[in-house]
């Protein structure tokens, strides 16, 4: 089985500073592999363990993205493809086009995995776009994937239910974090990852004009969230009941 995993070298949102005007300070911000991408890599490695084959990491990024590539290779992926472009300077459509072009060039793949969304921007747009551009079925928000023969059975984690679908392979799927617990690469695997092959592709060579986006992000603002600061007083059995009632009335508990 030939599996591709699309990953992103993302801004580390846990370290991101916001200035007094609410503007996130993206320049010079700490970066790392997008959190949920590790789940996608882990799932690919599990599929490989069950079906044999190869796991290829594909990313669109600056040279800095090699860190994420190396981390994914250290987890156990076999090789990588790095498409040179700054994902912060192009939109999701162009990112998806570049990923799809790289996947076409190195394909065909039986399964293409992505995470449900990147941990910095979290638009969730790229995975379905990649499916569309490759003309493959797309299954989003997978919490379980079983591949058998030429078909995959996928459990989709939706907001208040789980949907089980079957789709023919090849397919594109996005995974949610509950699908697995990503492994930690051992130190030896980290040292050896640098020796695994990584093919570097120029965005311009893949798609002429690849630097041109169809949409433009003019700015981003941090959203201030006001807290209600409700305090329940009394014995635990009473406050617990009040808390449950309050949460239910806010609509945050499943009914």
């Amino acid at each position: 089985m030939k599996i591709a995993v699309c990953v992103k070298h993302a801004v580390d949102e846990t370290e991101l500073k916001v200035d007094a005007g609410g503007n996130p300070q993206l320049k010079g911000a700490a970066t790392r592999m997008s959190t949920f991408d590790k789940n996608a890599v882990e799932e690919a490695l599990r599929l490989k363990a069950a079906h044999q084959g190869e796991v290829v990491i594909v990313t669109v990024g600056t040279p800095e993205a090699k860190k994420t590539m190396k981390e994914a290779l250290a987890m156990g992926a076999d090789r990588g493809v790095l498409v040179s472009a700054d994902p912060m300077a192009i939109d999701t459509r162009r990112t998806a086009e570049l990923l799809a072009a790289a996947l076409k060039k190195g394909g065909p793949y039986d399964v293409v995995l992505c995470s449900e969304g990147s941990s910095d921007m979290y638009s969730g747009l790229v995975p379905p776009m990649v499916g569309e551009l490759l003309d493959l079925p797309y299954v989003g928000y997978a919490r379980r994937i079983e591949v058998s023969g030429q078909a995959a059975k996928v459990e989709r984690a939706l907001e208040d239910s789980v949907e089980v679908v079957e789709a023919p392979t090849p397919l594109v799927a996005s995974v949610v974090s509950e699908i697995n617990e990503p492994r930690y690469p051992t130190l030896i695997q980290i040292m050896q990852a640098g020796r695994k092959p990584v093919e570097e592709l120029s965005a311009e060579a893949l798609i002429p004009g690849a630097g041109q986006s169809v949409s433009l992000v003019r700015g981003m603002k941090a959203q201030a969230m006001a807290r209600k600061r409700v305090v329940f007083e009394g014995p635990p059995e009473e406050t617990a009941k009040k808390l449950l009632e309050a949460l239910a009335s806010e609509g945050v508990l499943p009914r």
Binding site: K67, E71, A74, Y184, T186, L187, I188, I190, M191, G194
Partner: protein, 389 residues
């Protein structure tokens, strides 16, 4: 909390301009493991709710003890300083596990230095991956730093040595698969490998300790414990020299461990000082608390520089016994100062909660273990007087 800190990363960049990225990848990955898998269970290890065997094995499987060993035995071949920084991180995340791992690694380092190729091939790969655990047995009920007065004997009988005597305050005792044992032969203190189980090898109960409660400490007893003569490490009569060499390296590591303990006590103090209010403002705004914060931070930075400097001298191949001892004396005493200040900043909560005072209790061991501050001051003075002649 990031276990691999910006300060540590900058020091790696300074010390290893050509290789720092690779070293930082290793340390960062290890730090993530410690932060997620060890730091959260550390309070439960202190109270005995969680035993360290599982987490320790997982950490060794990650490669914690492979860092500074040759690749031919399964190591990574990285500098000793990288291992020292990893130990500092582990001291921050989980001190008891760190103590156990530090002793284990010191034995592996001793074997790498003094054992035959056959002994190294037999034992090192398993020790480096954590498939087996090691223990260092030097101290006796009536002898500590004066190892020359040890009472444990090893008598050659045919193709075997018969070991008799007992060792005290032994970390990993009863859990380890391999014991590096120092015992006297006719030629003087000598060094042996004793595998467990071996008839005649037994252990006392787990000693109740002030701190480092997760690591097992007990007496090791040898009663006509017979081992093959091939288990002699190096030459007969040179055991005291080997022990000294092993301990010099271990002292750097103990220094790093104490910097790690001080670091977590400092971080907790910083967070508490920012949120605790008195007289209408946070206590971090009071000058006397700020003085403490400044002194704690300066102390920790100095300790870190000392253990890294000693590591670099060790890596150069020069005599580093004084530098290692300076690092240990300073960092162990510094750690106690910092942990004491942390208790003071936390006030009543500092004195009454394990979550805070366990750091002081953990740190308290190491002005005693692996060379007391008093003995090491004598060593430093002796070495520096000799160097100045």
């Amino acid at each position: 909390m990031a276990t691999y800190s910006a300060e540590q990363r900058r020091l790696m960049e300074t010390f290893y301009p050509d290789h720092h990225e690779e070293y930082s990848e290793v340390l960062s990955s290890l730090g993530t493991f410690m932060e997620k898998e060890l730091l959260p269970i550390s309070p439960k290890i202190d109270t005995g709710e969680v035993k360290i065997a599982g987490p320790r094995k997982a950490l060794l499987k990650q490669g914690m003890c492979q860092i500074a060993f040759p690749e031919e035995y399964g190591g990574l071949g990285l500098p000793f300083s990288v291992y020292a920084v990893a130990i500092e991180m582990l001291g921050t995340a989980e001190a008891s596990t760190c103590l156990s791992v530090e002793i284990h690694n010191a034995v592996a380092e001793g074997l790498n230095r003094f054992a035959t190729d056959a002994q190294k091939s037999r034992y090192l790969p398993g020790l480096l991956t954590g498939d087996s655990l090691a223990s260092f047995t030097l101290t006796e009920p009536a002898s500590g730093s004066d190892a020359g007065t040890m009472a444990t004997t090893a008598e050659k009988k045919g193709g075997e040595y018969s070991i008799n005597g007992s060792k005290m305050f032994i970390t990993n005792a009863g859990e380890a698969d391999l014991y590096l044992v120092f015992a006297k032969t006719k030629k003087g203190p000598s060094c042996f490998i004793v595998e467990s189980p071996t008839p005649g090898l037994s252990f006392g109960g787990d000693l109740k300790k002030l701190g480092m409660r997760g690591s097992r400490t007990s007496e090791v007893v040898f009663s006509d414990c017979r081992i093959p003569e091939g288990n002699l490490v190096g030459e007969e009569g040179k055991g005291a020299d080997y022990a000294k060499e092993i301990l010099h390296g271990a002292r750097i590591i103990v220094a790093a461990l104490n910097v790690g303990i001080a670091q977590i006590a400092y971080e907790k103090s910083l967070a508490y000082a920012r949120q605790r209010k008195a007289f209408g403002k946070t206590i971090s705004e009071f000058q006397l608390i700020r003085e403490k914060i400044a002194d704690m931070k300066t102390d920790i930075s100095a300790g870190r520089m000392l253990y890294l400097y000693a590591s670099k001298v060790k890596e150069s191949g020069a005599d580093y016994s004084s530098e290692a001892s300076q690092a240990k004396v300073f960092s162990t005493e510094m750690s106690l100062r910092v942990c004491d200040s942390a208790i003071q900043i936390h006030g009543g909560y500092g004195y009454t909660t394990d979550e805070l005072h366990r750091h002081w209790r953990d740190a308290r061991l190491l002005t005693i273990g692996e060379g007391t501050s008093e003995v090491l001051r004598l060593l430093i003075a002796r070495r520096e007087l000799a160097r100045s002649q």
